[in-house]
Subunit: 258 residues, 2 copies
DNA sequence: GCAAAAGTGTTCTTCGTACACCCATGA
DNA sequence: TCATGGGTGTACGAAGAACACTTTTGC
């Protein structure tokens, strides 16, 4: 007979949520960790998370804990596993429902209030509390799997990004190298990126000559992107056109794959 | 203050496991359901499952409940989600960790002891208890996703199977049609199937003439499959060579995709 | 002006897709 | 003998992989 105010006929485990927050610094994939201030594992780093309340869903709990501990307000959490090893918490039986989330650099600004929250490059993570090392490996596996087939990478970049930035992101997550030229081709031909007109500098457009045809956009019925007649400037920004992606995915059995 | 013998400072949800068992009858995908004998949802059908014990992992609990309720002994359970809607069980707060499992016809034999367990074609499922309709949709999504890239389909067929059987399975799960000839080619060229020599009848081998070259197997260094000189007999059986699959997957970044 | 990164195009090969015929089996 | 399903080959086109050169930018 244990003490406490909430009693049950059979033993109940405690239920927590944990959230693996990924970020991208332009070159490496990072995760956001919290330094534990209390036992067990005091002083070790762990994922933001905590006990689920009895009147909230696990996802609501994860969002709440994330906000409380890091001030980050993220809504697109992806549940990737529930971990239930019997001895994973020395205090009592605790199972944890794990999510991952993707944060933009712009999300993070101002999030530094949380003094004990810190970003770590994915390849340089300290030993974590509980079974969080294991959970991290699983999170990475799921992120790799998911980004392979869904355009979630854009959630790690700012609204506007360059193709090389995007490539570095994919390379960091999947731990592979792509040929720059093939990456360009694939991304642009996919037809889900909008070129952002940098208002100051339109000099380069319509300037040049020799009708260098590019069949990008020839596929789209209604939308008629500007035909390129000159090379893009260095550092040309693009944005992800989610509407068009959704439409393509629906219409054709289109799939952007990496 | 609730009554009971196990008391906690904060409220704890109950934790159950549920297992969506898929089977294949040669033409359609089926799932195994249990008729509930008690309230709530008495008389409705539900997935085998039940409360997780305090000293077992969720997976162990799912395996145990499955065995108890259906006599099926399956070990390759795949966790695909944890469901935590606040009102999903009218009795108390219950979250459920959901798995799916794949059963062979040979597994099922003798499993009929469980009088209240019954197979239902996936397209003809009665209204289910709790949120199990929703969970079933999620299970299907995950099965489709998984079979796309992992050779789990073989776990639904007997050890030996014909290519058309395999094709019907894929078609049933993915709800698509494949061209028979292309399906043969893809499967055989993948190099993960062993042709089973039907001991009675080797008549057809080495019999015929005109050196019909097939480059199947030319890729494998050590293993040297018999070169085909005559067409296979109708109903030729194959088996899945997991070792070779694992090796291919490792060596090359090989991936069997559907 | 030099190094590092950005931007572009072409060729070859691979793979998916579409498609036609013969054989075996059983009603 | 006819219908149904099983087993095999071929040809075309799309997409991925390999690959070189020019331009821009910042030290």
């Amino acid at each position: 007979m244990k003490k406490g105010n909430y009693c049950y006929k059979y033993p109940h485990p405690a239920v927590t949520t944990d959230c693996v927050v990924f970020g991208f610094d332009g070159h490496r994939l990072n995760i956001l960790l919290i330094e534990r201030g209390a036992e067990p594992y005091k002083g070790r780093w762990a994922f933001p998370g905590g006990f689920m309340k009895i009147d909230e869903t696990a996802e609501q709990g994860a969002i709440r804990e994330l906000q409380e501990e890091t001030t980050l307000q993220l809504s697109h959490l992806k549940q990737f596993g529930t971990f239930s090893a019997v001895d994973r918490d020395p205090r009592e039986r605790v199972i944890t429902i794990a999510y991952y989330a993707l944060a933009r650099k712009s999300d993070v600004k101002g999030g530094d209030d949380a003094a004990d929250a810190k970003w770590f490059p994915i390849n340089d993570v300290p030993p974590l509390a509980f079974d969080h090392d294991y959970i991290l490996r699983k999170a990475m596996q799921h992120l790799k799997q998911d980004i392979h087939f869904e355009p979630i990478g854009f959630d790690l970049l700012d609204e506007q990004f360059t193709i090389p930035e995007l490539q570095r992101l994919y390379e960091a997550i999947l731990d592979v190298r792509f040929d720059r030229r093939n990456f360009y081709k694939k991304m642009l031909q996919a037809g889900i990126l909008d070129e952002v007109d940098d208002d100051d500098e339109q000099i380069y457009y319509g300037q040049n000559n020799e009708m260098r045809r590019m069949d990008i956009g020839a596929l789209f019925g209604d939308s008629t992107p500007q035909e390129r007649t000159a090379p893009r400037r260095k550092g040309t920004k693009f944005s992800f056109n989610k509407d068009r992606y959704d439409k393509l995915k629906e219409d054709k059995n289109f799939r952007l794959e990496f």
